[in-house]
Symmetry: C2
Subunit: 325 residues, 2 copies
């Protein structure tokens, strides 16, 4: 097996000899996908390359403050460039409608940190030990000899900040913090970026969070902490379905919660999001209900009504938690 370092050097060489390139990220992009895509694009431009920034779903807020986000397109150009660099994708399918044409590019490079997925691309640099793709790109940018400037550093810092959950997840390694330090040294402004990413709730989002927290309940001797949002809550607050993001983490912040659950009414169905502190594998619960995810964060959609979905989730999670120690 080639070493990761060698692979990175090969990618750097391929970039150097390409006059133009497309940099792509996955559908429903998060901070790591967008920060990585935009940071790499800037670095290639500093080398004099013509760069196409491509995101199938564009740049949703709050990430539209990132340098270069206005240049992002939802499609590849009519004339395909010779090089496509796909970041943070554990499979070509995650490019959605762009997967087919991307596969037609002469050189496809994948840069990722997911442990699983469906391999693609002639050159693959996949390092699951990296906290974020942004951390890998920081190394690539350095290998390319491009000095970090404020704009590149802002993109890559945002990638690392968001994929480590503001330096709170278990992937917050010494390496991640060291790279973050280097990016701040180069001009990334942690306070300003934090405000842009995390302090731009709408009034409706804040009110929806309030509704969810006003209605917490517990089950299984307090080890499961739950809340539920009905269509009436969305109507009363003016919030929409994407405004539920982040609410589950605030439920998990309750001390005794081994597992946090948020149930959201959607038509006749109920979306069930789960977070575990580590003892229960909520991916197994989600899979049993036709969903999926990671051991500590998973979700599924089940038949309504709410009360039935709640009962079902509690039964399966309690079984997964097992008897009290």
């Amino acid at each position: 097996m080639k070493s990761k370092r060698e692979t990175m050097e090969k990618i750097a060489a391929l970039i150097r000899r390409s006059a133009s390139a497309a940099v792509l990220c996955h559908m429903h992009p998060d901070g790591d996908a967008l920060g990585s895509m935009l940071g790499l694009a800037l670095a290639l431009e500093r080398l004099g390359k013509r760069v196409h920034r491509v995101s199938p779903d564009g740049v949703p807020p709050p990430y539209d403050f990132l340098p270069g986000s206005r240049a992002v397109r939802r499609r590849l150009p009519r004339d395909l460039p010779p090089l496509a660099i796909v970041v943070d994708c554990d499979g070509l399918a995650r490019l959605g409608p762009l997967a087919r044409r991307t596969g037609q590019v002469a050189h496809v490079v994948a840069i990722d940190h997911h442990a699983t997925g469906k391999a693609f691309g002639a050159l693959r640099w996949v390092d699951p030990s990296a906290a974020a793709v942004g951390a890998l790109l920081s190394e690539l940018v350095a290998a390319l000899g491009v000095p970090f400037d404020r704009e590149i550093a802002t993109c890559l810092y945002t990638a690392i900040l968001t994929d480590t959950g503001r330096f709170s997840y278990t992937n917050t390694t010494a390496r991640a913090l060291r790279i973050a330090a280097r990016l701040v040294q180069a001009g990334a402004d942690p306070g300003a970026i934090y405000q842009q990413v995390y302090e731009t709730k709408s009034l409706a989002q804040a009110a929806l969070l309030g509704a969810a927290l006003s209605r917490l309940s517990t089950a299984d001797e307090g080890r499961i902490v739950l809340s539920a949002l009905t269509r009436a809550d969305f109507a009363a607050t003016g919030a929409n379905d994407s405004d539920t993001e982040g609410i589950i983490d605030q439920i998990r912040a309750v001390r005794q919660a081994e597992v946090a659950v948020l149930l959201v009414e959607r038509g006749g169905e109920v979306r069930c999001s789960m977070r575990s502190r580590g003892r229960a594998d909520v991916a197994r619960v989600a899979e049993a209900l036709g969903g999926g995810g990671h051991p500590q964060a998973a979700g599924c959609t089940v038949a309504g009504p709410l009360a039935r979905a709640r009962k079902q989730a509690i039964r399966l999670i309690a079984a997964e938690l097992g008897p009290r120690a």
Copy 2:
């Protein structure tokens, strides 16, 4: 003026020649005060010193997970040690009932990062450019030749994490992140520490936050976002007055909030907490109402009822914000 480096070396020399020492922090201790005090205490013990950990208010949760917190006393020992190291105090008065006896110790050393305050101590190492006293102590521990171990690193990482607002405030410097990286390398566990400090809300605290967010209102064309908590909210949720901590920051997270305000009914009075995104100086508003604070975070207590306090706060904040740009 002596250089900071020289001062640190002098403190290290004084520590080396003292067989015992007291390490003290201020009343109502925060994460930096306790993490710094406990981290330094451990380092001195590694050097074979007899150490007294002294905190006038003990070690309140969530910080009681910190290594060494069980050894903390609320008073100095009957026989005063020859050396007292006071951390994170911008004046001896912040030791409260312990100020007098601490002043009687032969060698008093102050290690602090506040820009203002009332000088005390024969040896003073005050560096306002440091994100946290924990960052200064990381340098002192290294200068003492004590290797960082998991316990020391946990204390000092907690100090930096909390005083930078989880790496979100403007004091999140490259230096702070570099030191954090070194502490993680030495064994501090960012995920576990984050959970201990920030994910240990009681159900009552979460419900009180829910009540506050369910009742947001705006004033001054949306530039002021407010909420209020009545005694009925405390009764309904089972929360107490200290459970309001952190709520104001969640109000400030609303996008358009130039100033966030939380009003809390307390008997016939109303406690008014304010946060500014930078445009308004809320300390001036608080001072006008008999309180005080920093330009971006201030508070005061005014006469009730709530509606009157709300009106008064809005009028003063709107004047401070000035006309819309």
